[in-house]
Symmetry: C2
Subunit: 137 residues, 2 copies
DNA sequence: TTTTATGCAAATTGTTTGCAGATAA
DNA sequence: TTATCTGCAAACAATTTGCATAAAA
């Protein structure tokens, strides 16, 4: 929690209990929760916090480049405190979202830049399928 | 237009003037238009067609696997009549969306499947940056 | 005929916004 | 202090839905 406060300060964001709590949730999960999920998760400990504050905080964190926003094709966004660009694997059965860290995209990006003269700055890569757990059942 | 009618019939979709017009627009553009853009484009020739019909038609075409839906991070979806899985390049300045056809992702997908036991069925790959035109200005 | 599509208007829903009071620095 | 944040309620906007009519097969 101390480190999280430092990260907020380093971005000139005021350190509030709400922001600490929201960033902390994201920082300690690989579930890629939505705003609503974060809101629900914090209800027991922060019952007076509003959903609007969750949205505003996520927006502030996103703009400060402390989190990234995912658009896996559901009706709402998901969030990831791991800001390194990496593919996400989405299970079409259980809706779980997994990370896959790799540098294998670097050469493709180089190729795209060479062939199209596009200057690539960021990426979103989503693979859809069935996770190991759901293949069994 | 004849071919488009055939493609609809082959999927057991009734051939209506609205569907022909909408599919025809998508089939002859690489602009990746949104529902609203398609609606506007058809206003001159189909002034009585409703936006709801555009949405319903796009949904039908998508379910019939005749088009794919793109989520490039804007507030609305875009559509592509090229259903082959391929990366899309989005210019952050002019918002243009370009296609990039390649097989370079195949090996990455193989690697993901081997390392994670995920069974991958589809993909969405978006690269964000600045297009050649916008780099000049 | 029978089945499916269209068009209108209303509903839905994730997200955003305005603003007054509260809080961090 | 004073600049920024929070929480509430209202607003927003893309998309969906219900239903009566219309059109395709």
């Amino acid at each position: 929690m101390q480190r999280i406060a430092e990260m907020l300060k380093a971005k000139n964001l005021k350190v509030t209990p709400q922001r600490l709590a929201i960033f902390n949730v994201l920082y300690h999960t690989t579930e890629h929760p939505s705003a609503e999920t974060i809101y629900q998760a914090l209800q027991p400990t922060h019952p007076t916090m509003s959903l609007a504050t969750v949205y505003k905080t996520l927006d502030a964190l996103k703009k400060a480049n402390l989190i990234q926003e995912l658009n896996v094709g559901e009706d709402s966004f998901r969030y990831d405190a791991n800001i390194s660009p990496h593919p996400h694997l989405i299970c079409l059965k259980c809706k779980k979202v997994m990370d896959f860290h790799t540098h294998a995209l670097d050469s493709l990006i180089d190729k795209v830049q060479e062939e199209t003269d596009f200057k690539i700055l960021s990426q979103k890569v989503y693979f859809y399928g069935v996770c190991p757990d759901c293949q069994e059942s």
